[in-house]
Assembly symmetry: C2
Homo-oligomer: 446 residues x 2
Amino acid sequence: MSTSPSKQMHLGAFLMSVGHHAAGWRFPGVDPANTMNFAYYKKLAQTAEAGKFDLIFFADRLAISDRFDNRFDTTVRYLAQARPEPISLLGALGAITDKIGLAATASTTYNEPFFLARAFATLDHLTGGRIAWNIVTSTNDGEALNFSKQEHLEHETRYGRAHEFLDVVTKLWDSWEDDALVLDKENGIYADPSKVHYLHHKGDWFGVRGPLNVTRPPQGHPVLIQAGSSDTGRDFAAQTAEVIFSSQPQIAAAREFRNDIHARVLKYGRTPDSIKILPGVMPIIGATQAEAEEKLRHLEDLVHPLGGLALLSDSMNHDLSVYSLDEPLPELENIRGNQSRYKLVQEMSKRDNLTLRQLGKRFGGSRSHRVVAGTAEQIADNFAEWFGSGACDGFNLMPAYLPESLTDFVEQVVPILQERGLFRREYEGDTLRQHLGLARPQNRFT
Amino acid sequence: MSTSPSKQMHLGAFLMSVGHHAAGWRFPGVDPANTMNFAYYKKLAQTAEAGKFDLIFFADRLAISDRFDNRFDTTVRYLAQARPEPISLLGALGAITDKIGLAATASTTYNEPFFLARAFATLDHLTGGRIAWNIVTSTNDGEALNFSKQEHLEHETRYGRAHEFLDVVTKLWDSWEDDALVLDKENGIYADPSKVHYLHHKGDWFGVRGPLNVTRPPQGHPVLIQAGSSDTGRDFAAQTAEVIFSSQPQIAAAREFRNDIHARVLKYGRTPDSIKILPGVMPIIGATQAEAEEKLRHLEDLVHPLGGLALLSDSMNHDLSVYSLDEPLPELENIRGNQSRYKLVQEMSKRDNLTLRQLGKRFGGSRSHRVVAGTAEQIADNFAEWFGSGACDGFNLMPAYLPESLTDFVEQVVPILQERGLFRREYEGDTLRQHLGLARPQNRFT
């Protein structure tokens, strides 16, 4: 009995340092020295590939977190802040994997489109079509200050820049037609210049003549991922994204979000199956539910509340050090950072009646993403329920402490999902687009 | 009998597409489809490592060549123009090698220091200290037009920017002291914030607050390479470079160049052994001298003269399509591109009384670098003579057609150099600095 691929969920592994949980580095069995260690990342990538994940995913930040108290002391002292630059890391991990997709985050606010188009096209060639770009607009002033700017762009402005940036990048990817190479050694004709195109792009933000000096990527375009949840962010995603990494802790809201995205996608002339929605989730696996809950409690005990608040300050681009730790999160306006993240945190804070100290611990855990603690069977049930009810097309896993959280999931949860026909037993294609069931884009110049 | 390392030469392999020679892609045995193929680059890197090379080296360009006739038709039609973005490529090749150094070219004119510092620091971590950055200021308007600029910066201006860029990058590499990580799981102290430093850099070109969000690279600083040969370029190299990739076709001039660099180095308070000078050379190996010369002749026959002139136009940032192909290179002033390259080409053109057509073929061959055609024994003799006479500290090999030119050198010339005690039989260290005999830089914040 075979199961149609469209009935199977997609899984990403969002790998962060030595664990997503702010206290992951302190957990038993974790080596906190691994944050820059290639052998460690290699093992993670190969574990995820053995688990037949669609992709592994790396975040990015362009500064040390220091919005809290206007110093980096809290984050440097209590958190594993150092992390690899993801484009170089993707190059390395592509070389030692065969099938799994690889996603790197890169900012449209602090990069140039020619550079990113070229790097992602190169990676897509080197990996035979396994690359995705997670498009972000960055979050705060600390990043601006490392790029000769005084402050971070306003929300709408940076989405304007993101739109133009993406337009230029996809045009650059198309600037060589698929059949531009002639490779006629006898007559000395390497390529057909009539199939290579200038862009002559001149917009509000960029002037880029093109063409790229890399041929068209194997996937046509590397897969485009986004995480924006604001109204502007949703609209941008509906126009351009192929995967949405969402933050949706509640099943009903997740279903509404997916319906909303599908409606927007139709408005832009796309079909709902051209976009896959993968909410973040942090699974905590135990032999019993009690053991899983105990692990989670232990992790929460180990988080320094100021570490979590420092991360939240960064995400909001607002210094929370000035408020009392024993009061709730105050009402704030004009957040220049991640607005939708702020809303989620505010809801969580009110719902569970949290003080700022408690909120710091909670945010340091999963950054407002969903946490599921239970046995492998319970986690599989939970994933099946979300997936089966149309709340998502799969999940972006946020392993709490590494490598164990990932290994446990691959060894214990994946076989159950496979047994139920909810997840692939083998890769059926070679490219990330094939894993995700996404079409290869037409070339606009052909 | 052991030979002191200081008496041994250093070897780089400057790998360009499917061969350095403009007609390399047409040569028998070469697969021109390899320009973006990872398996191919992997084999090259492993061959160079089997040959105990100090490093492999990748150039970079930020545009398709189109200075000639203001179109890219000539270069796209006759040359293998597509090539990988070198930072991603270095990530990939670092993952499948153990000892060999890896150098990527990156421009100070069209990048941001925070990004490059972070990428090179990451690569240095992932490879355990085997990375070098070849610092260039880029060459022409085609590159400017891909980065929202109208024209390339003037020579002196772009060196001013390069100085400041490098200052910021090295400060970022130092922004975490070597012992900043505490990793105290018990007490929850990840790092010591007093050993992490803001730069608060504000200069003519950049405002960069820092610190980096990557810990200090294993080599302290990745090795710094430069190729500038103008007076400004030499001075910049003497202050900052650790390896110079020079273009010196004549032994006497090469010795003068090396003496000049040593004198300048002393002026800046450095010692001559803190800088290694590796002139480019294209060896053409035959079973007999006649066979080698026949190979070279065949390669030259296969070059389209307009392809070579198009490359030269780009390098000079001056369109040569307006001159007669049957006349010599005219006297030109105010070249905004590679000035010292222009001088070399002009000397070569006068010395050998070349028409523009002949010059195009010659430049398409080795881009004005030295070509040595002969048996393996003759090439080893020639290398020994240059090295022994103080003309250089080793060579940056420019294999004409790949993989064969590299394989032949590793199998035939390297054993002779080893036999004579002129080249290592085994790697003695683990980092590129150790291969090159370069000290690990002190941290300016410690």
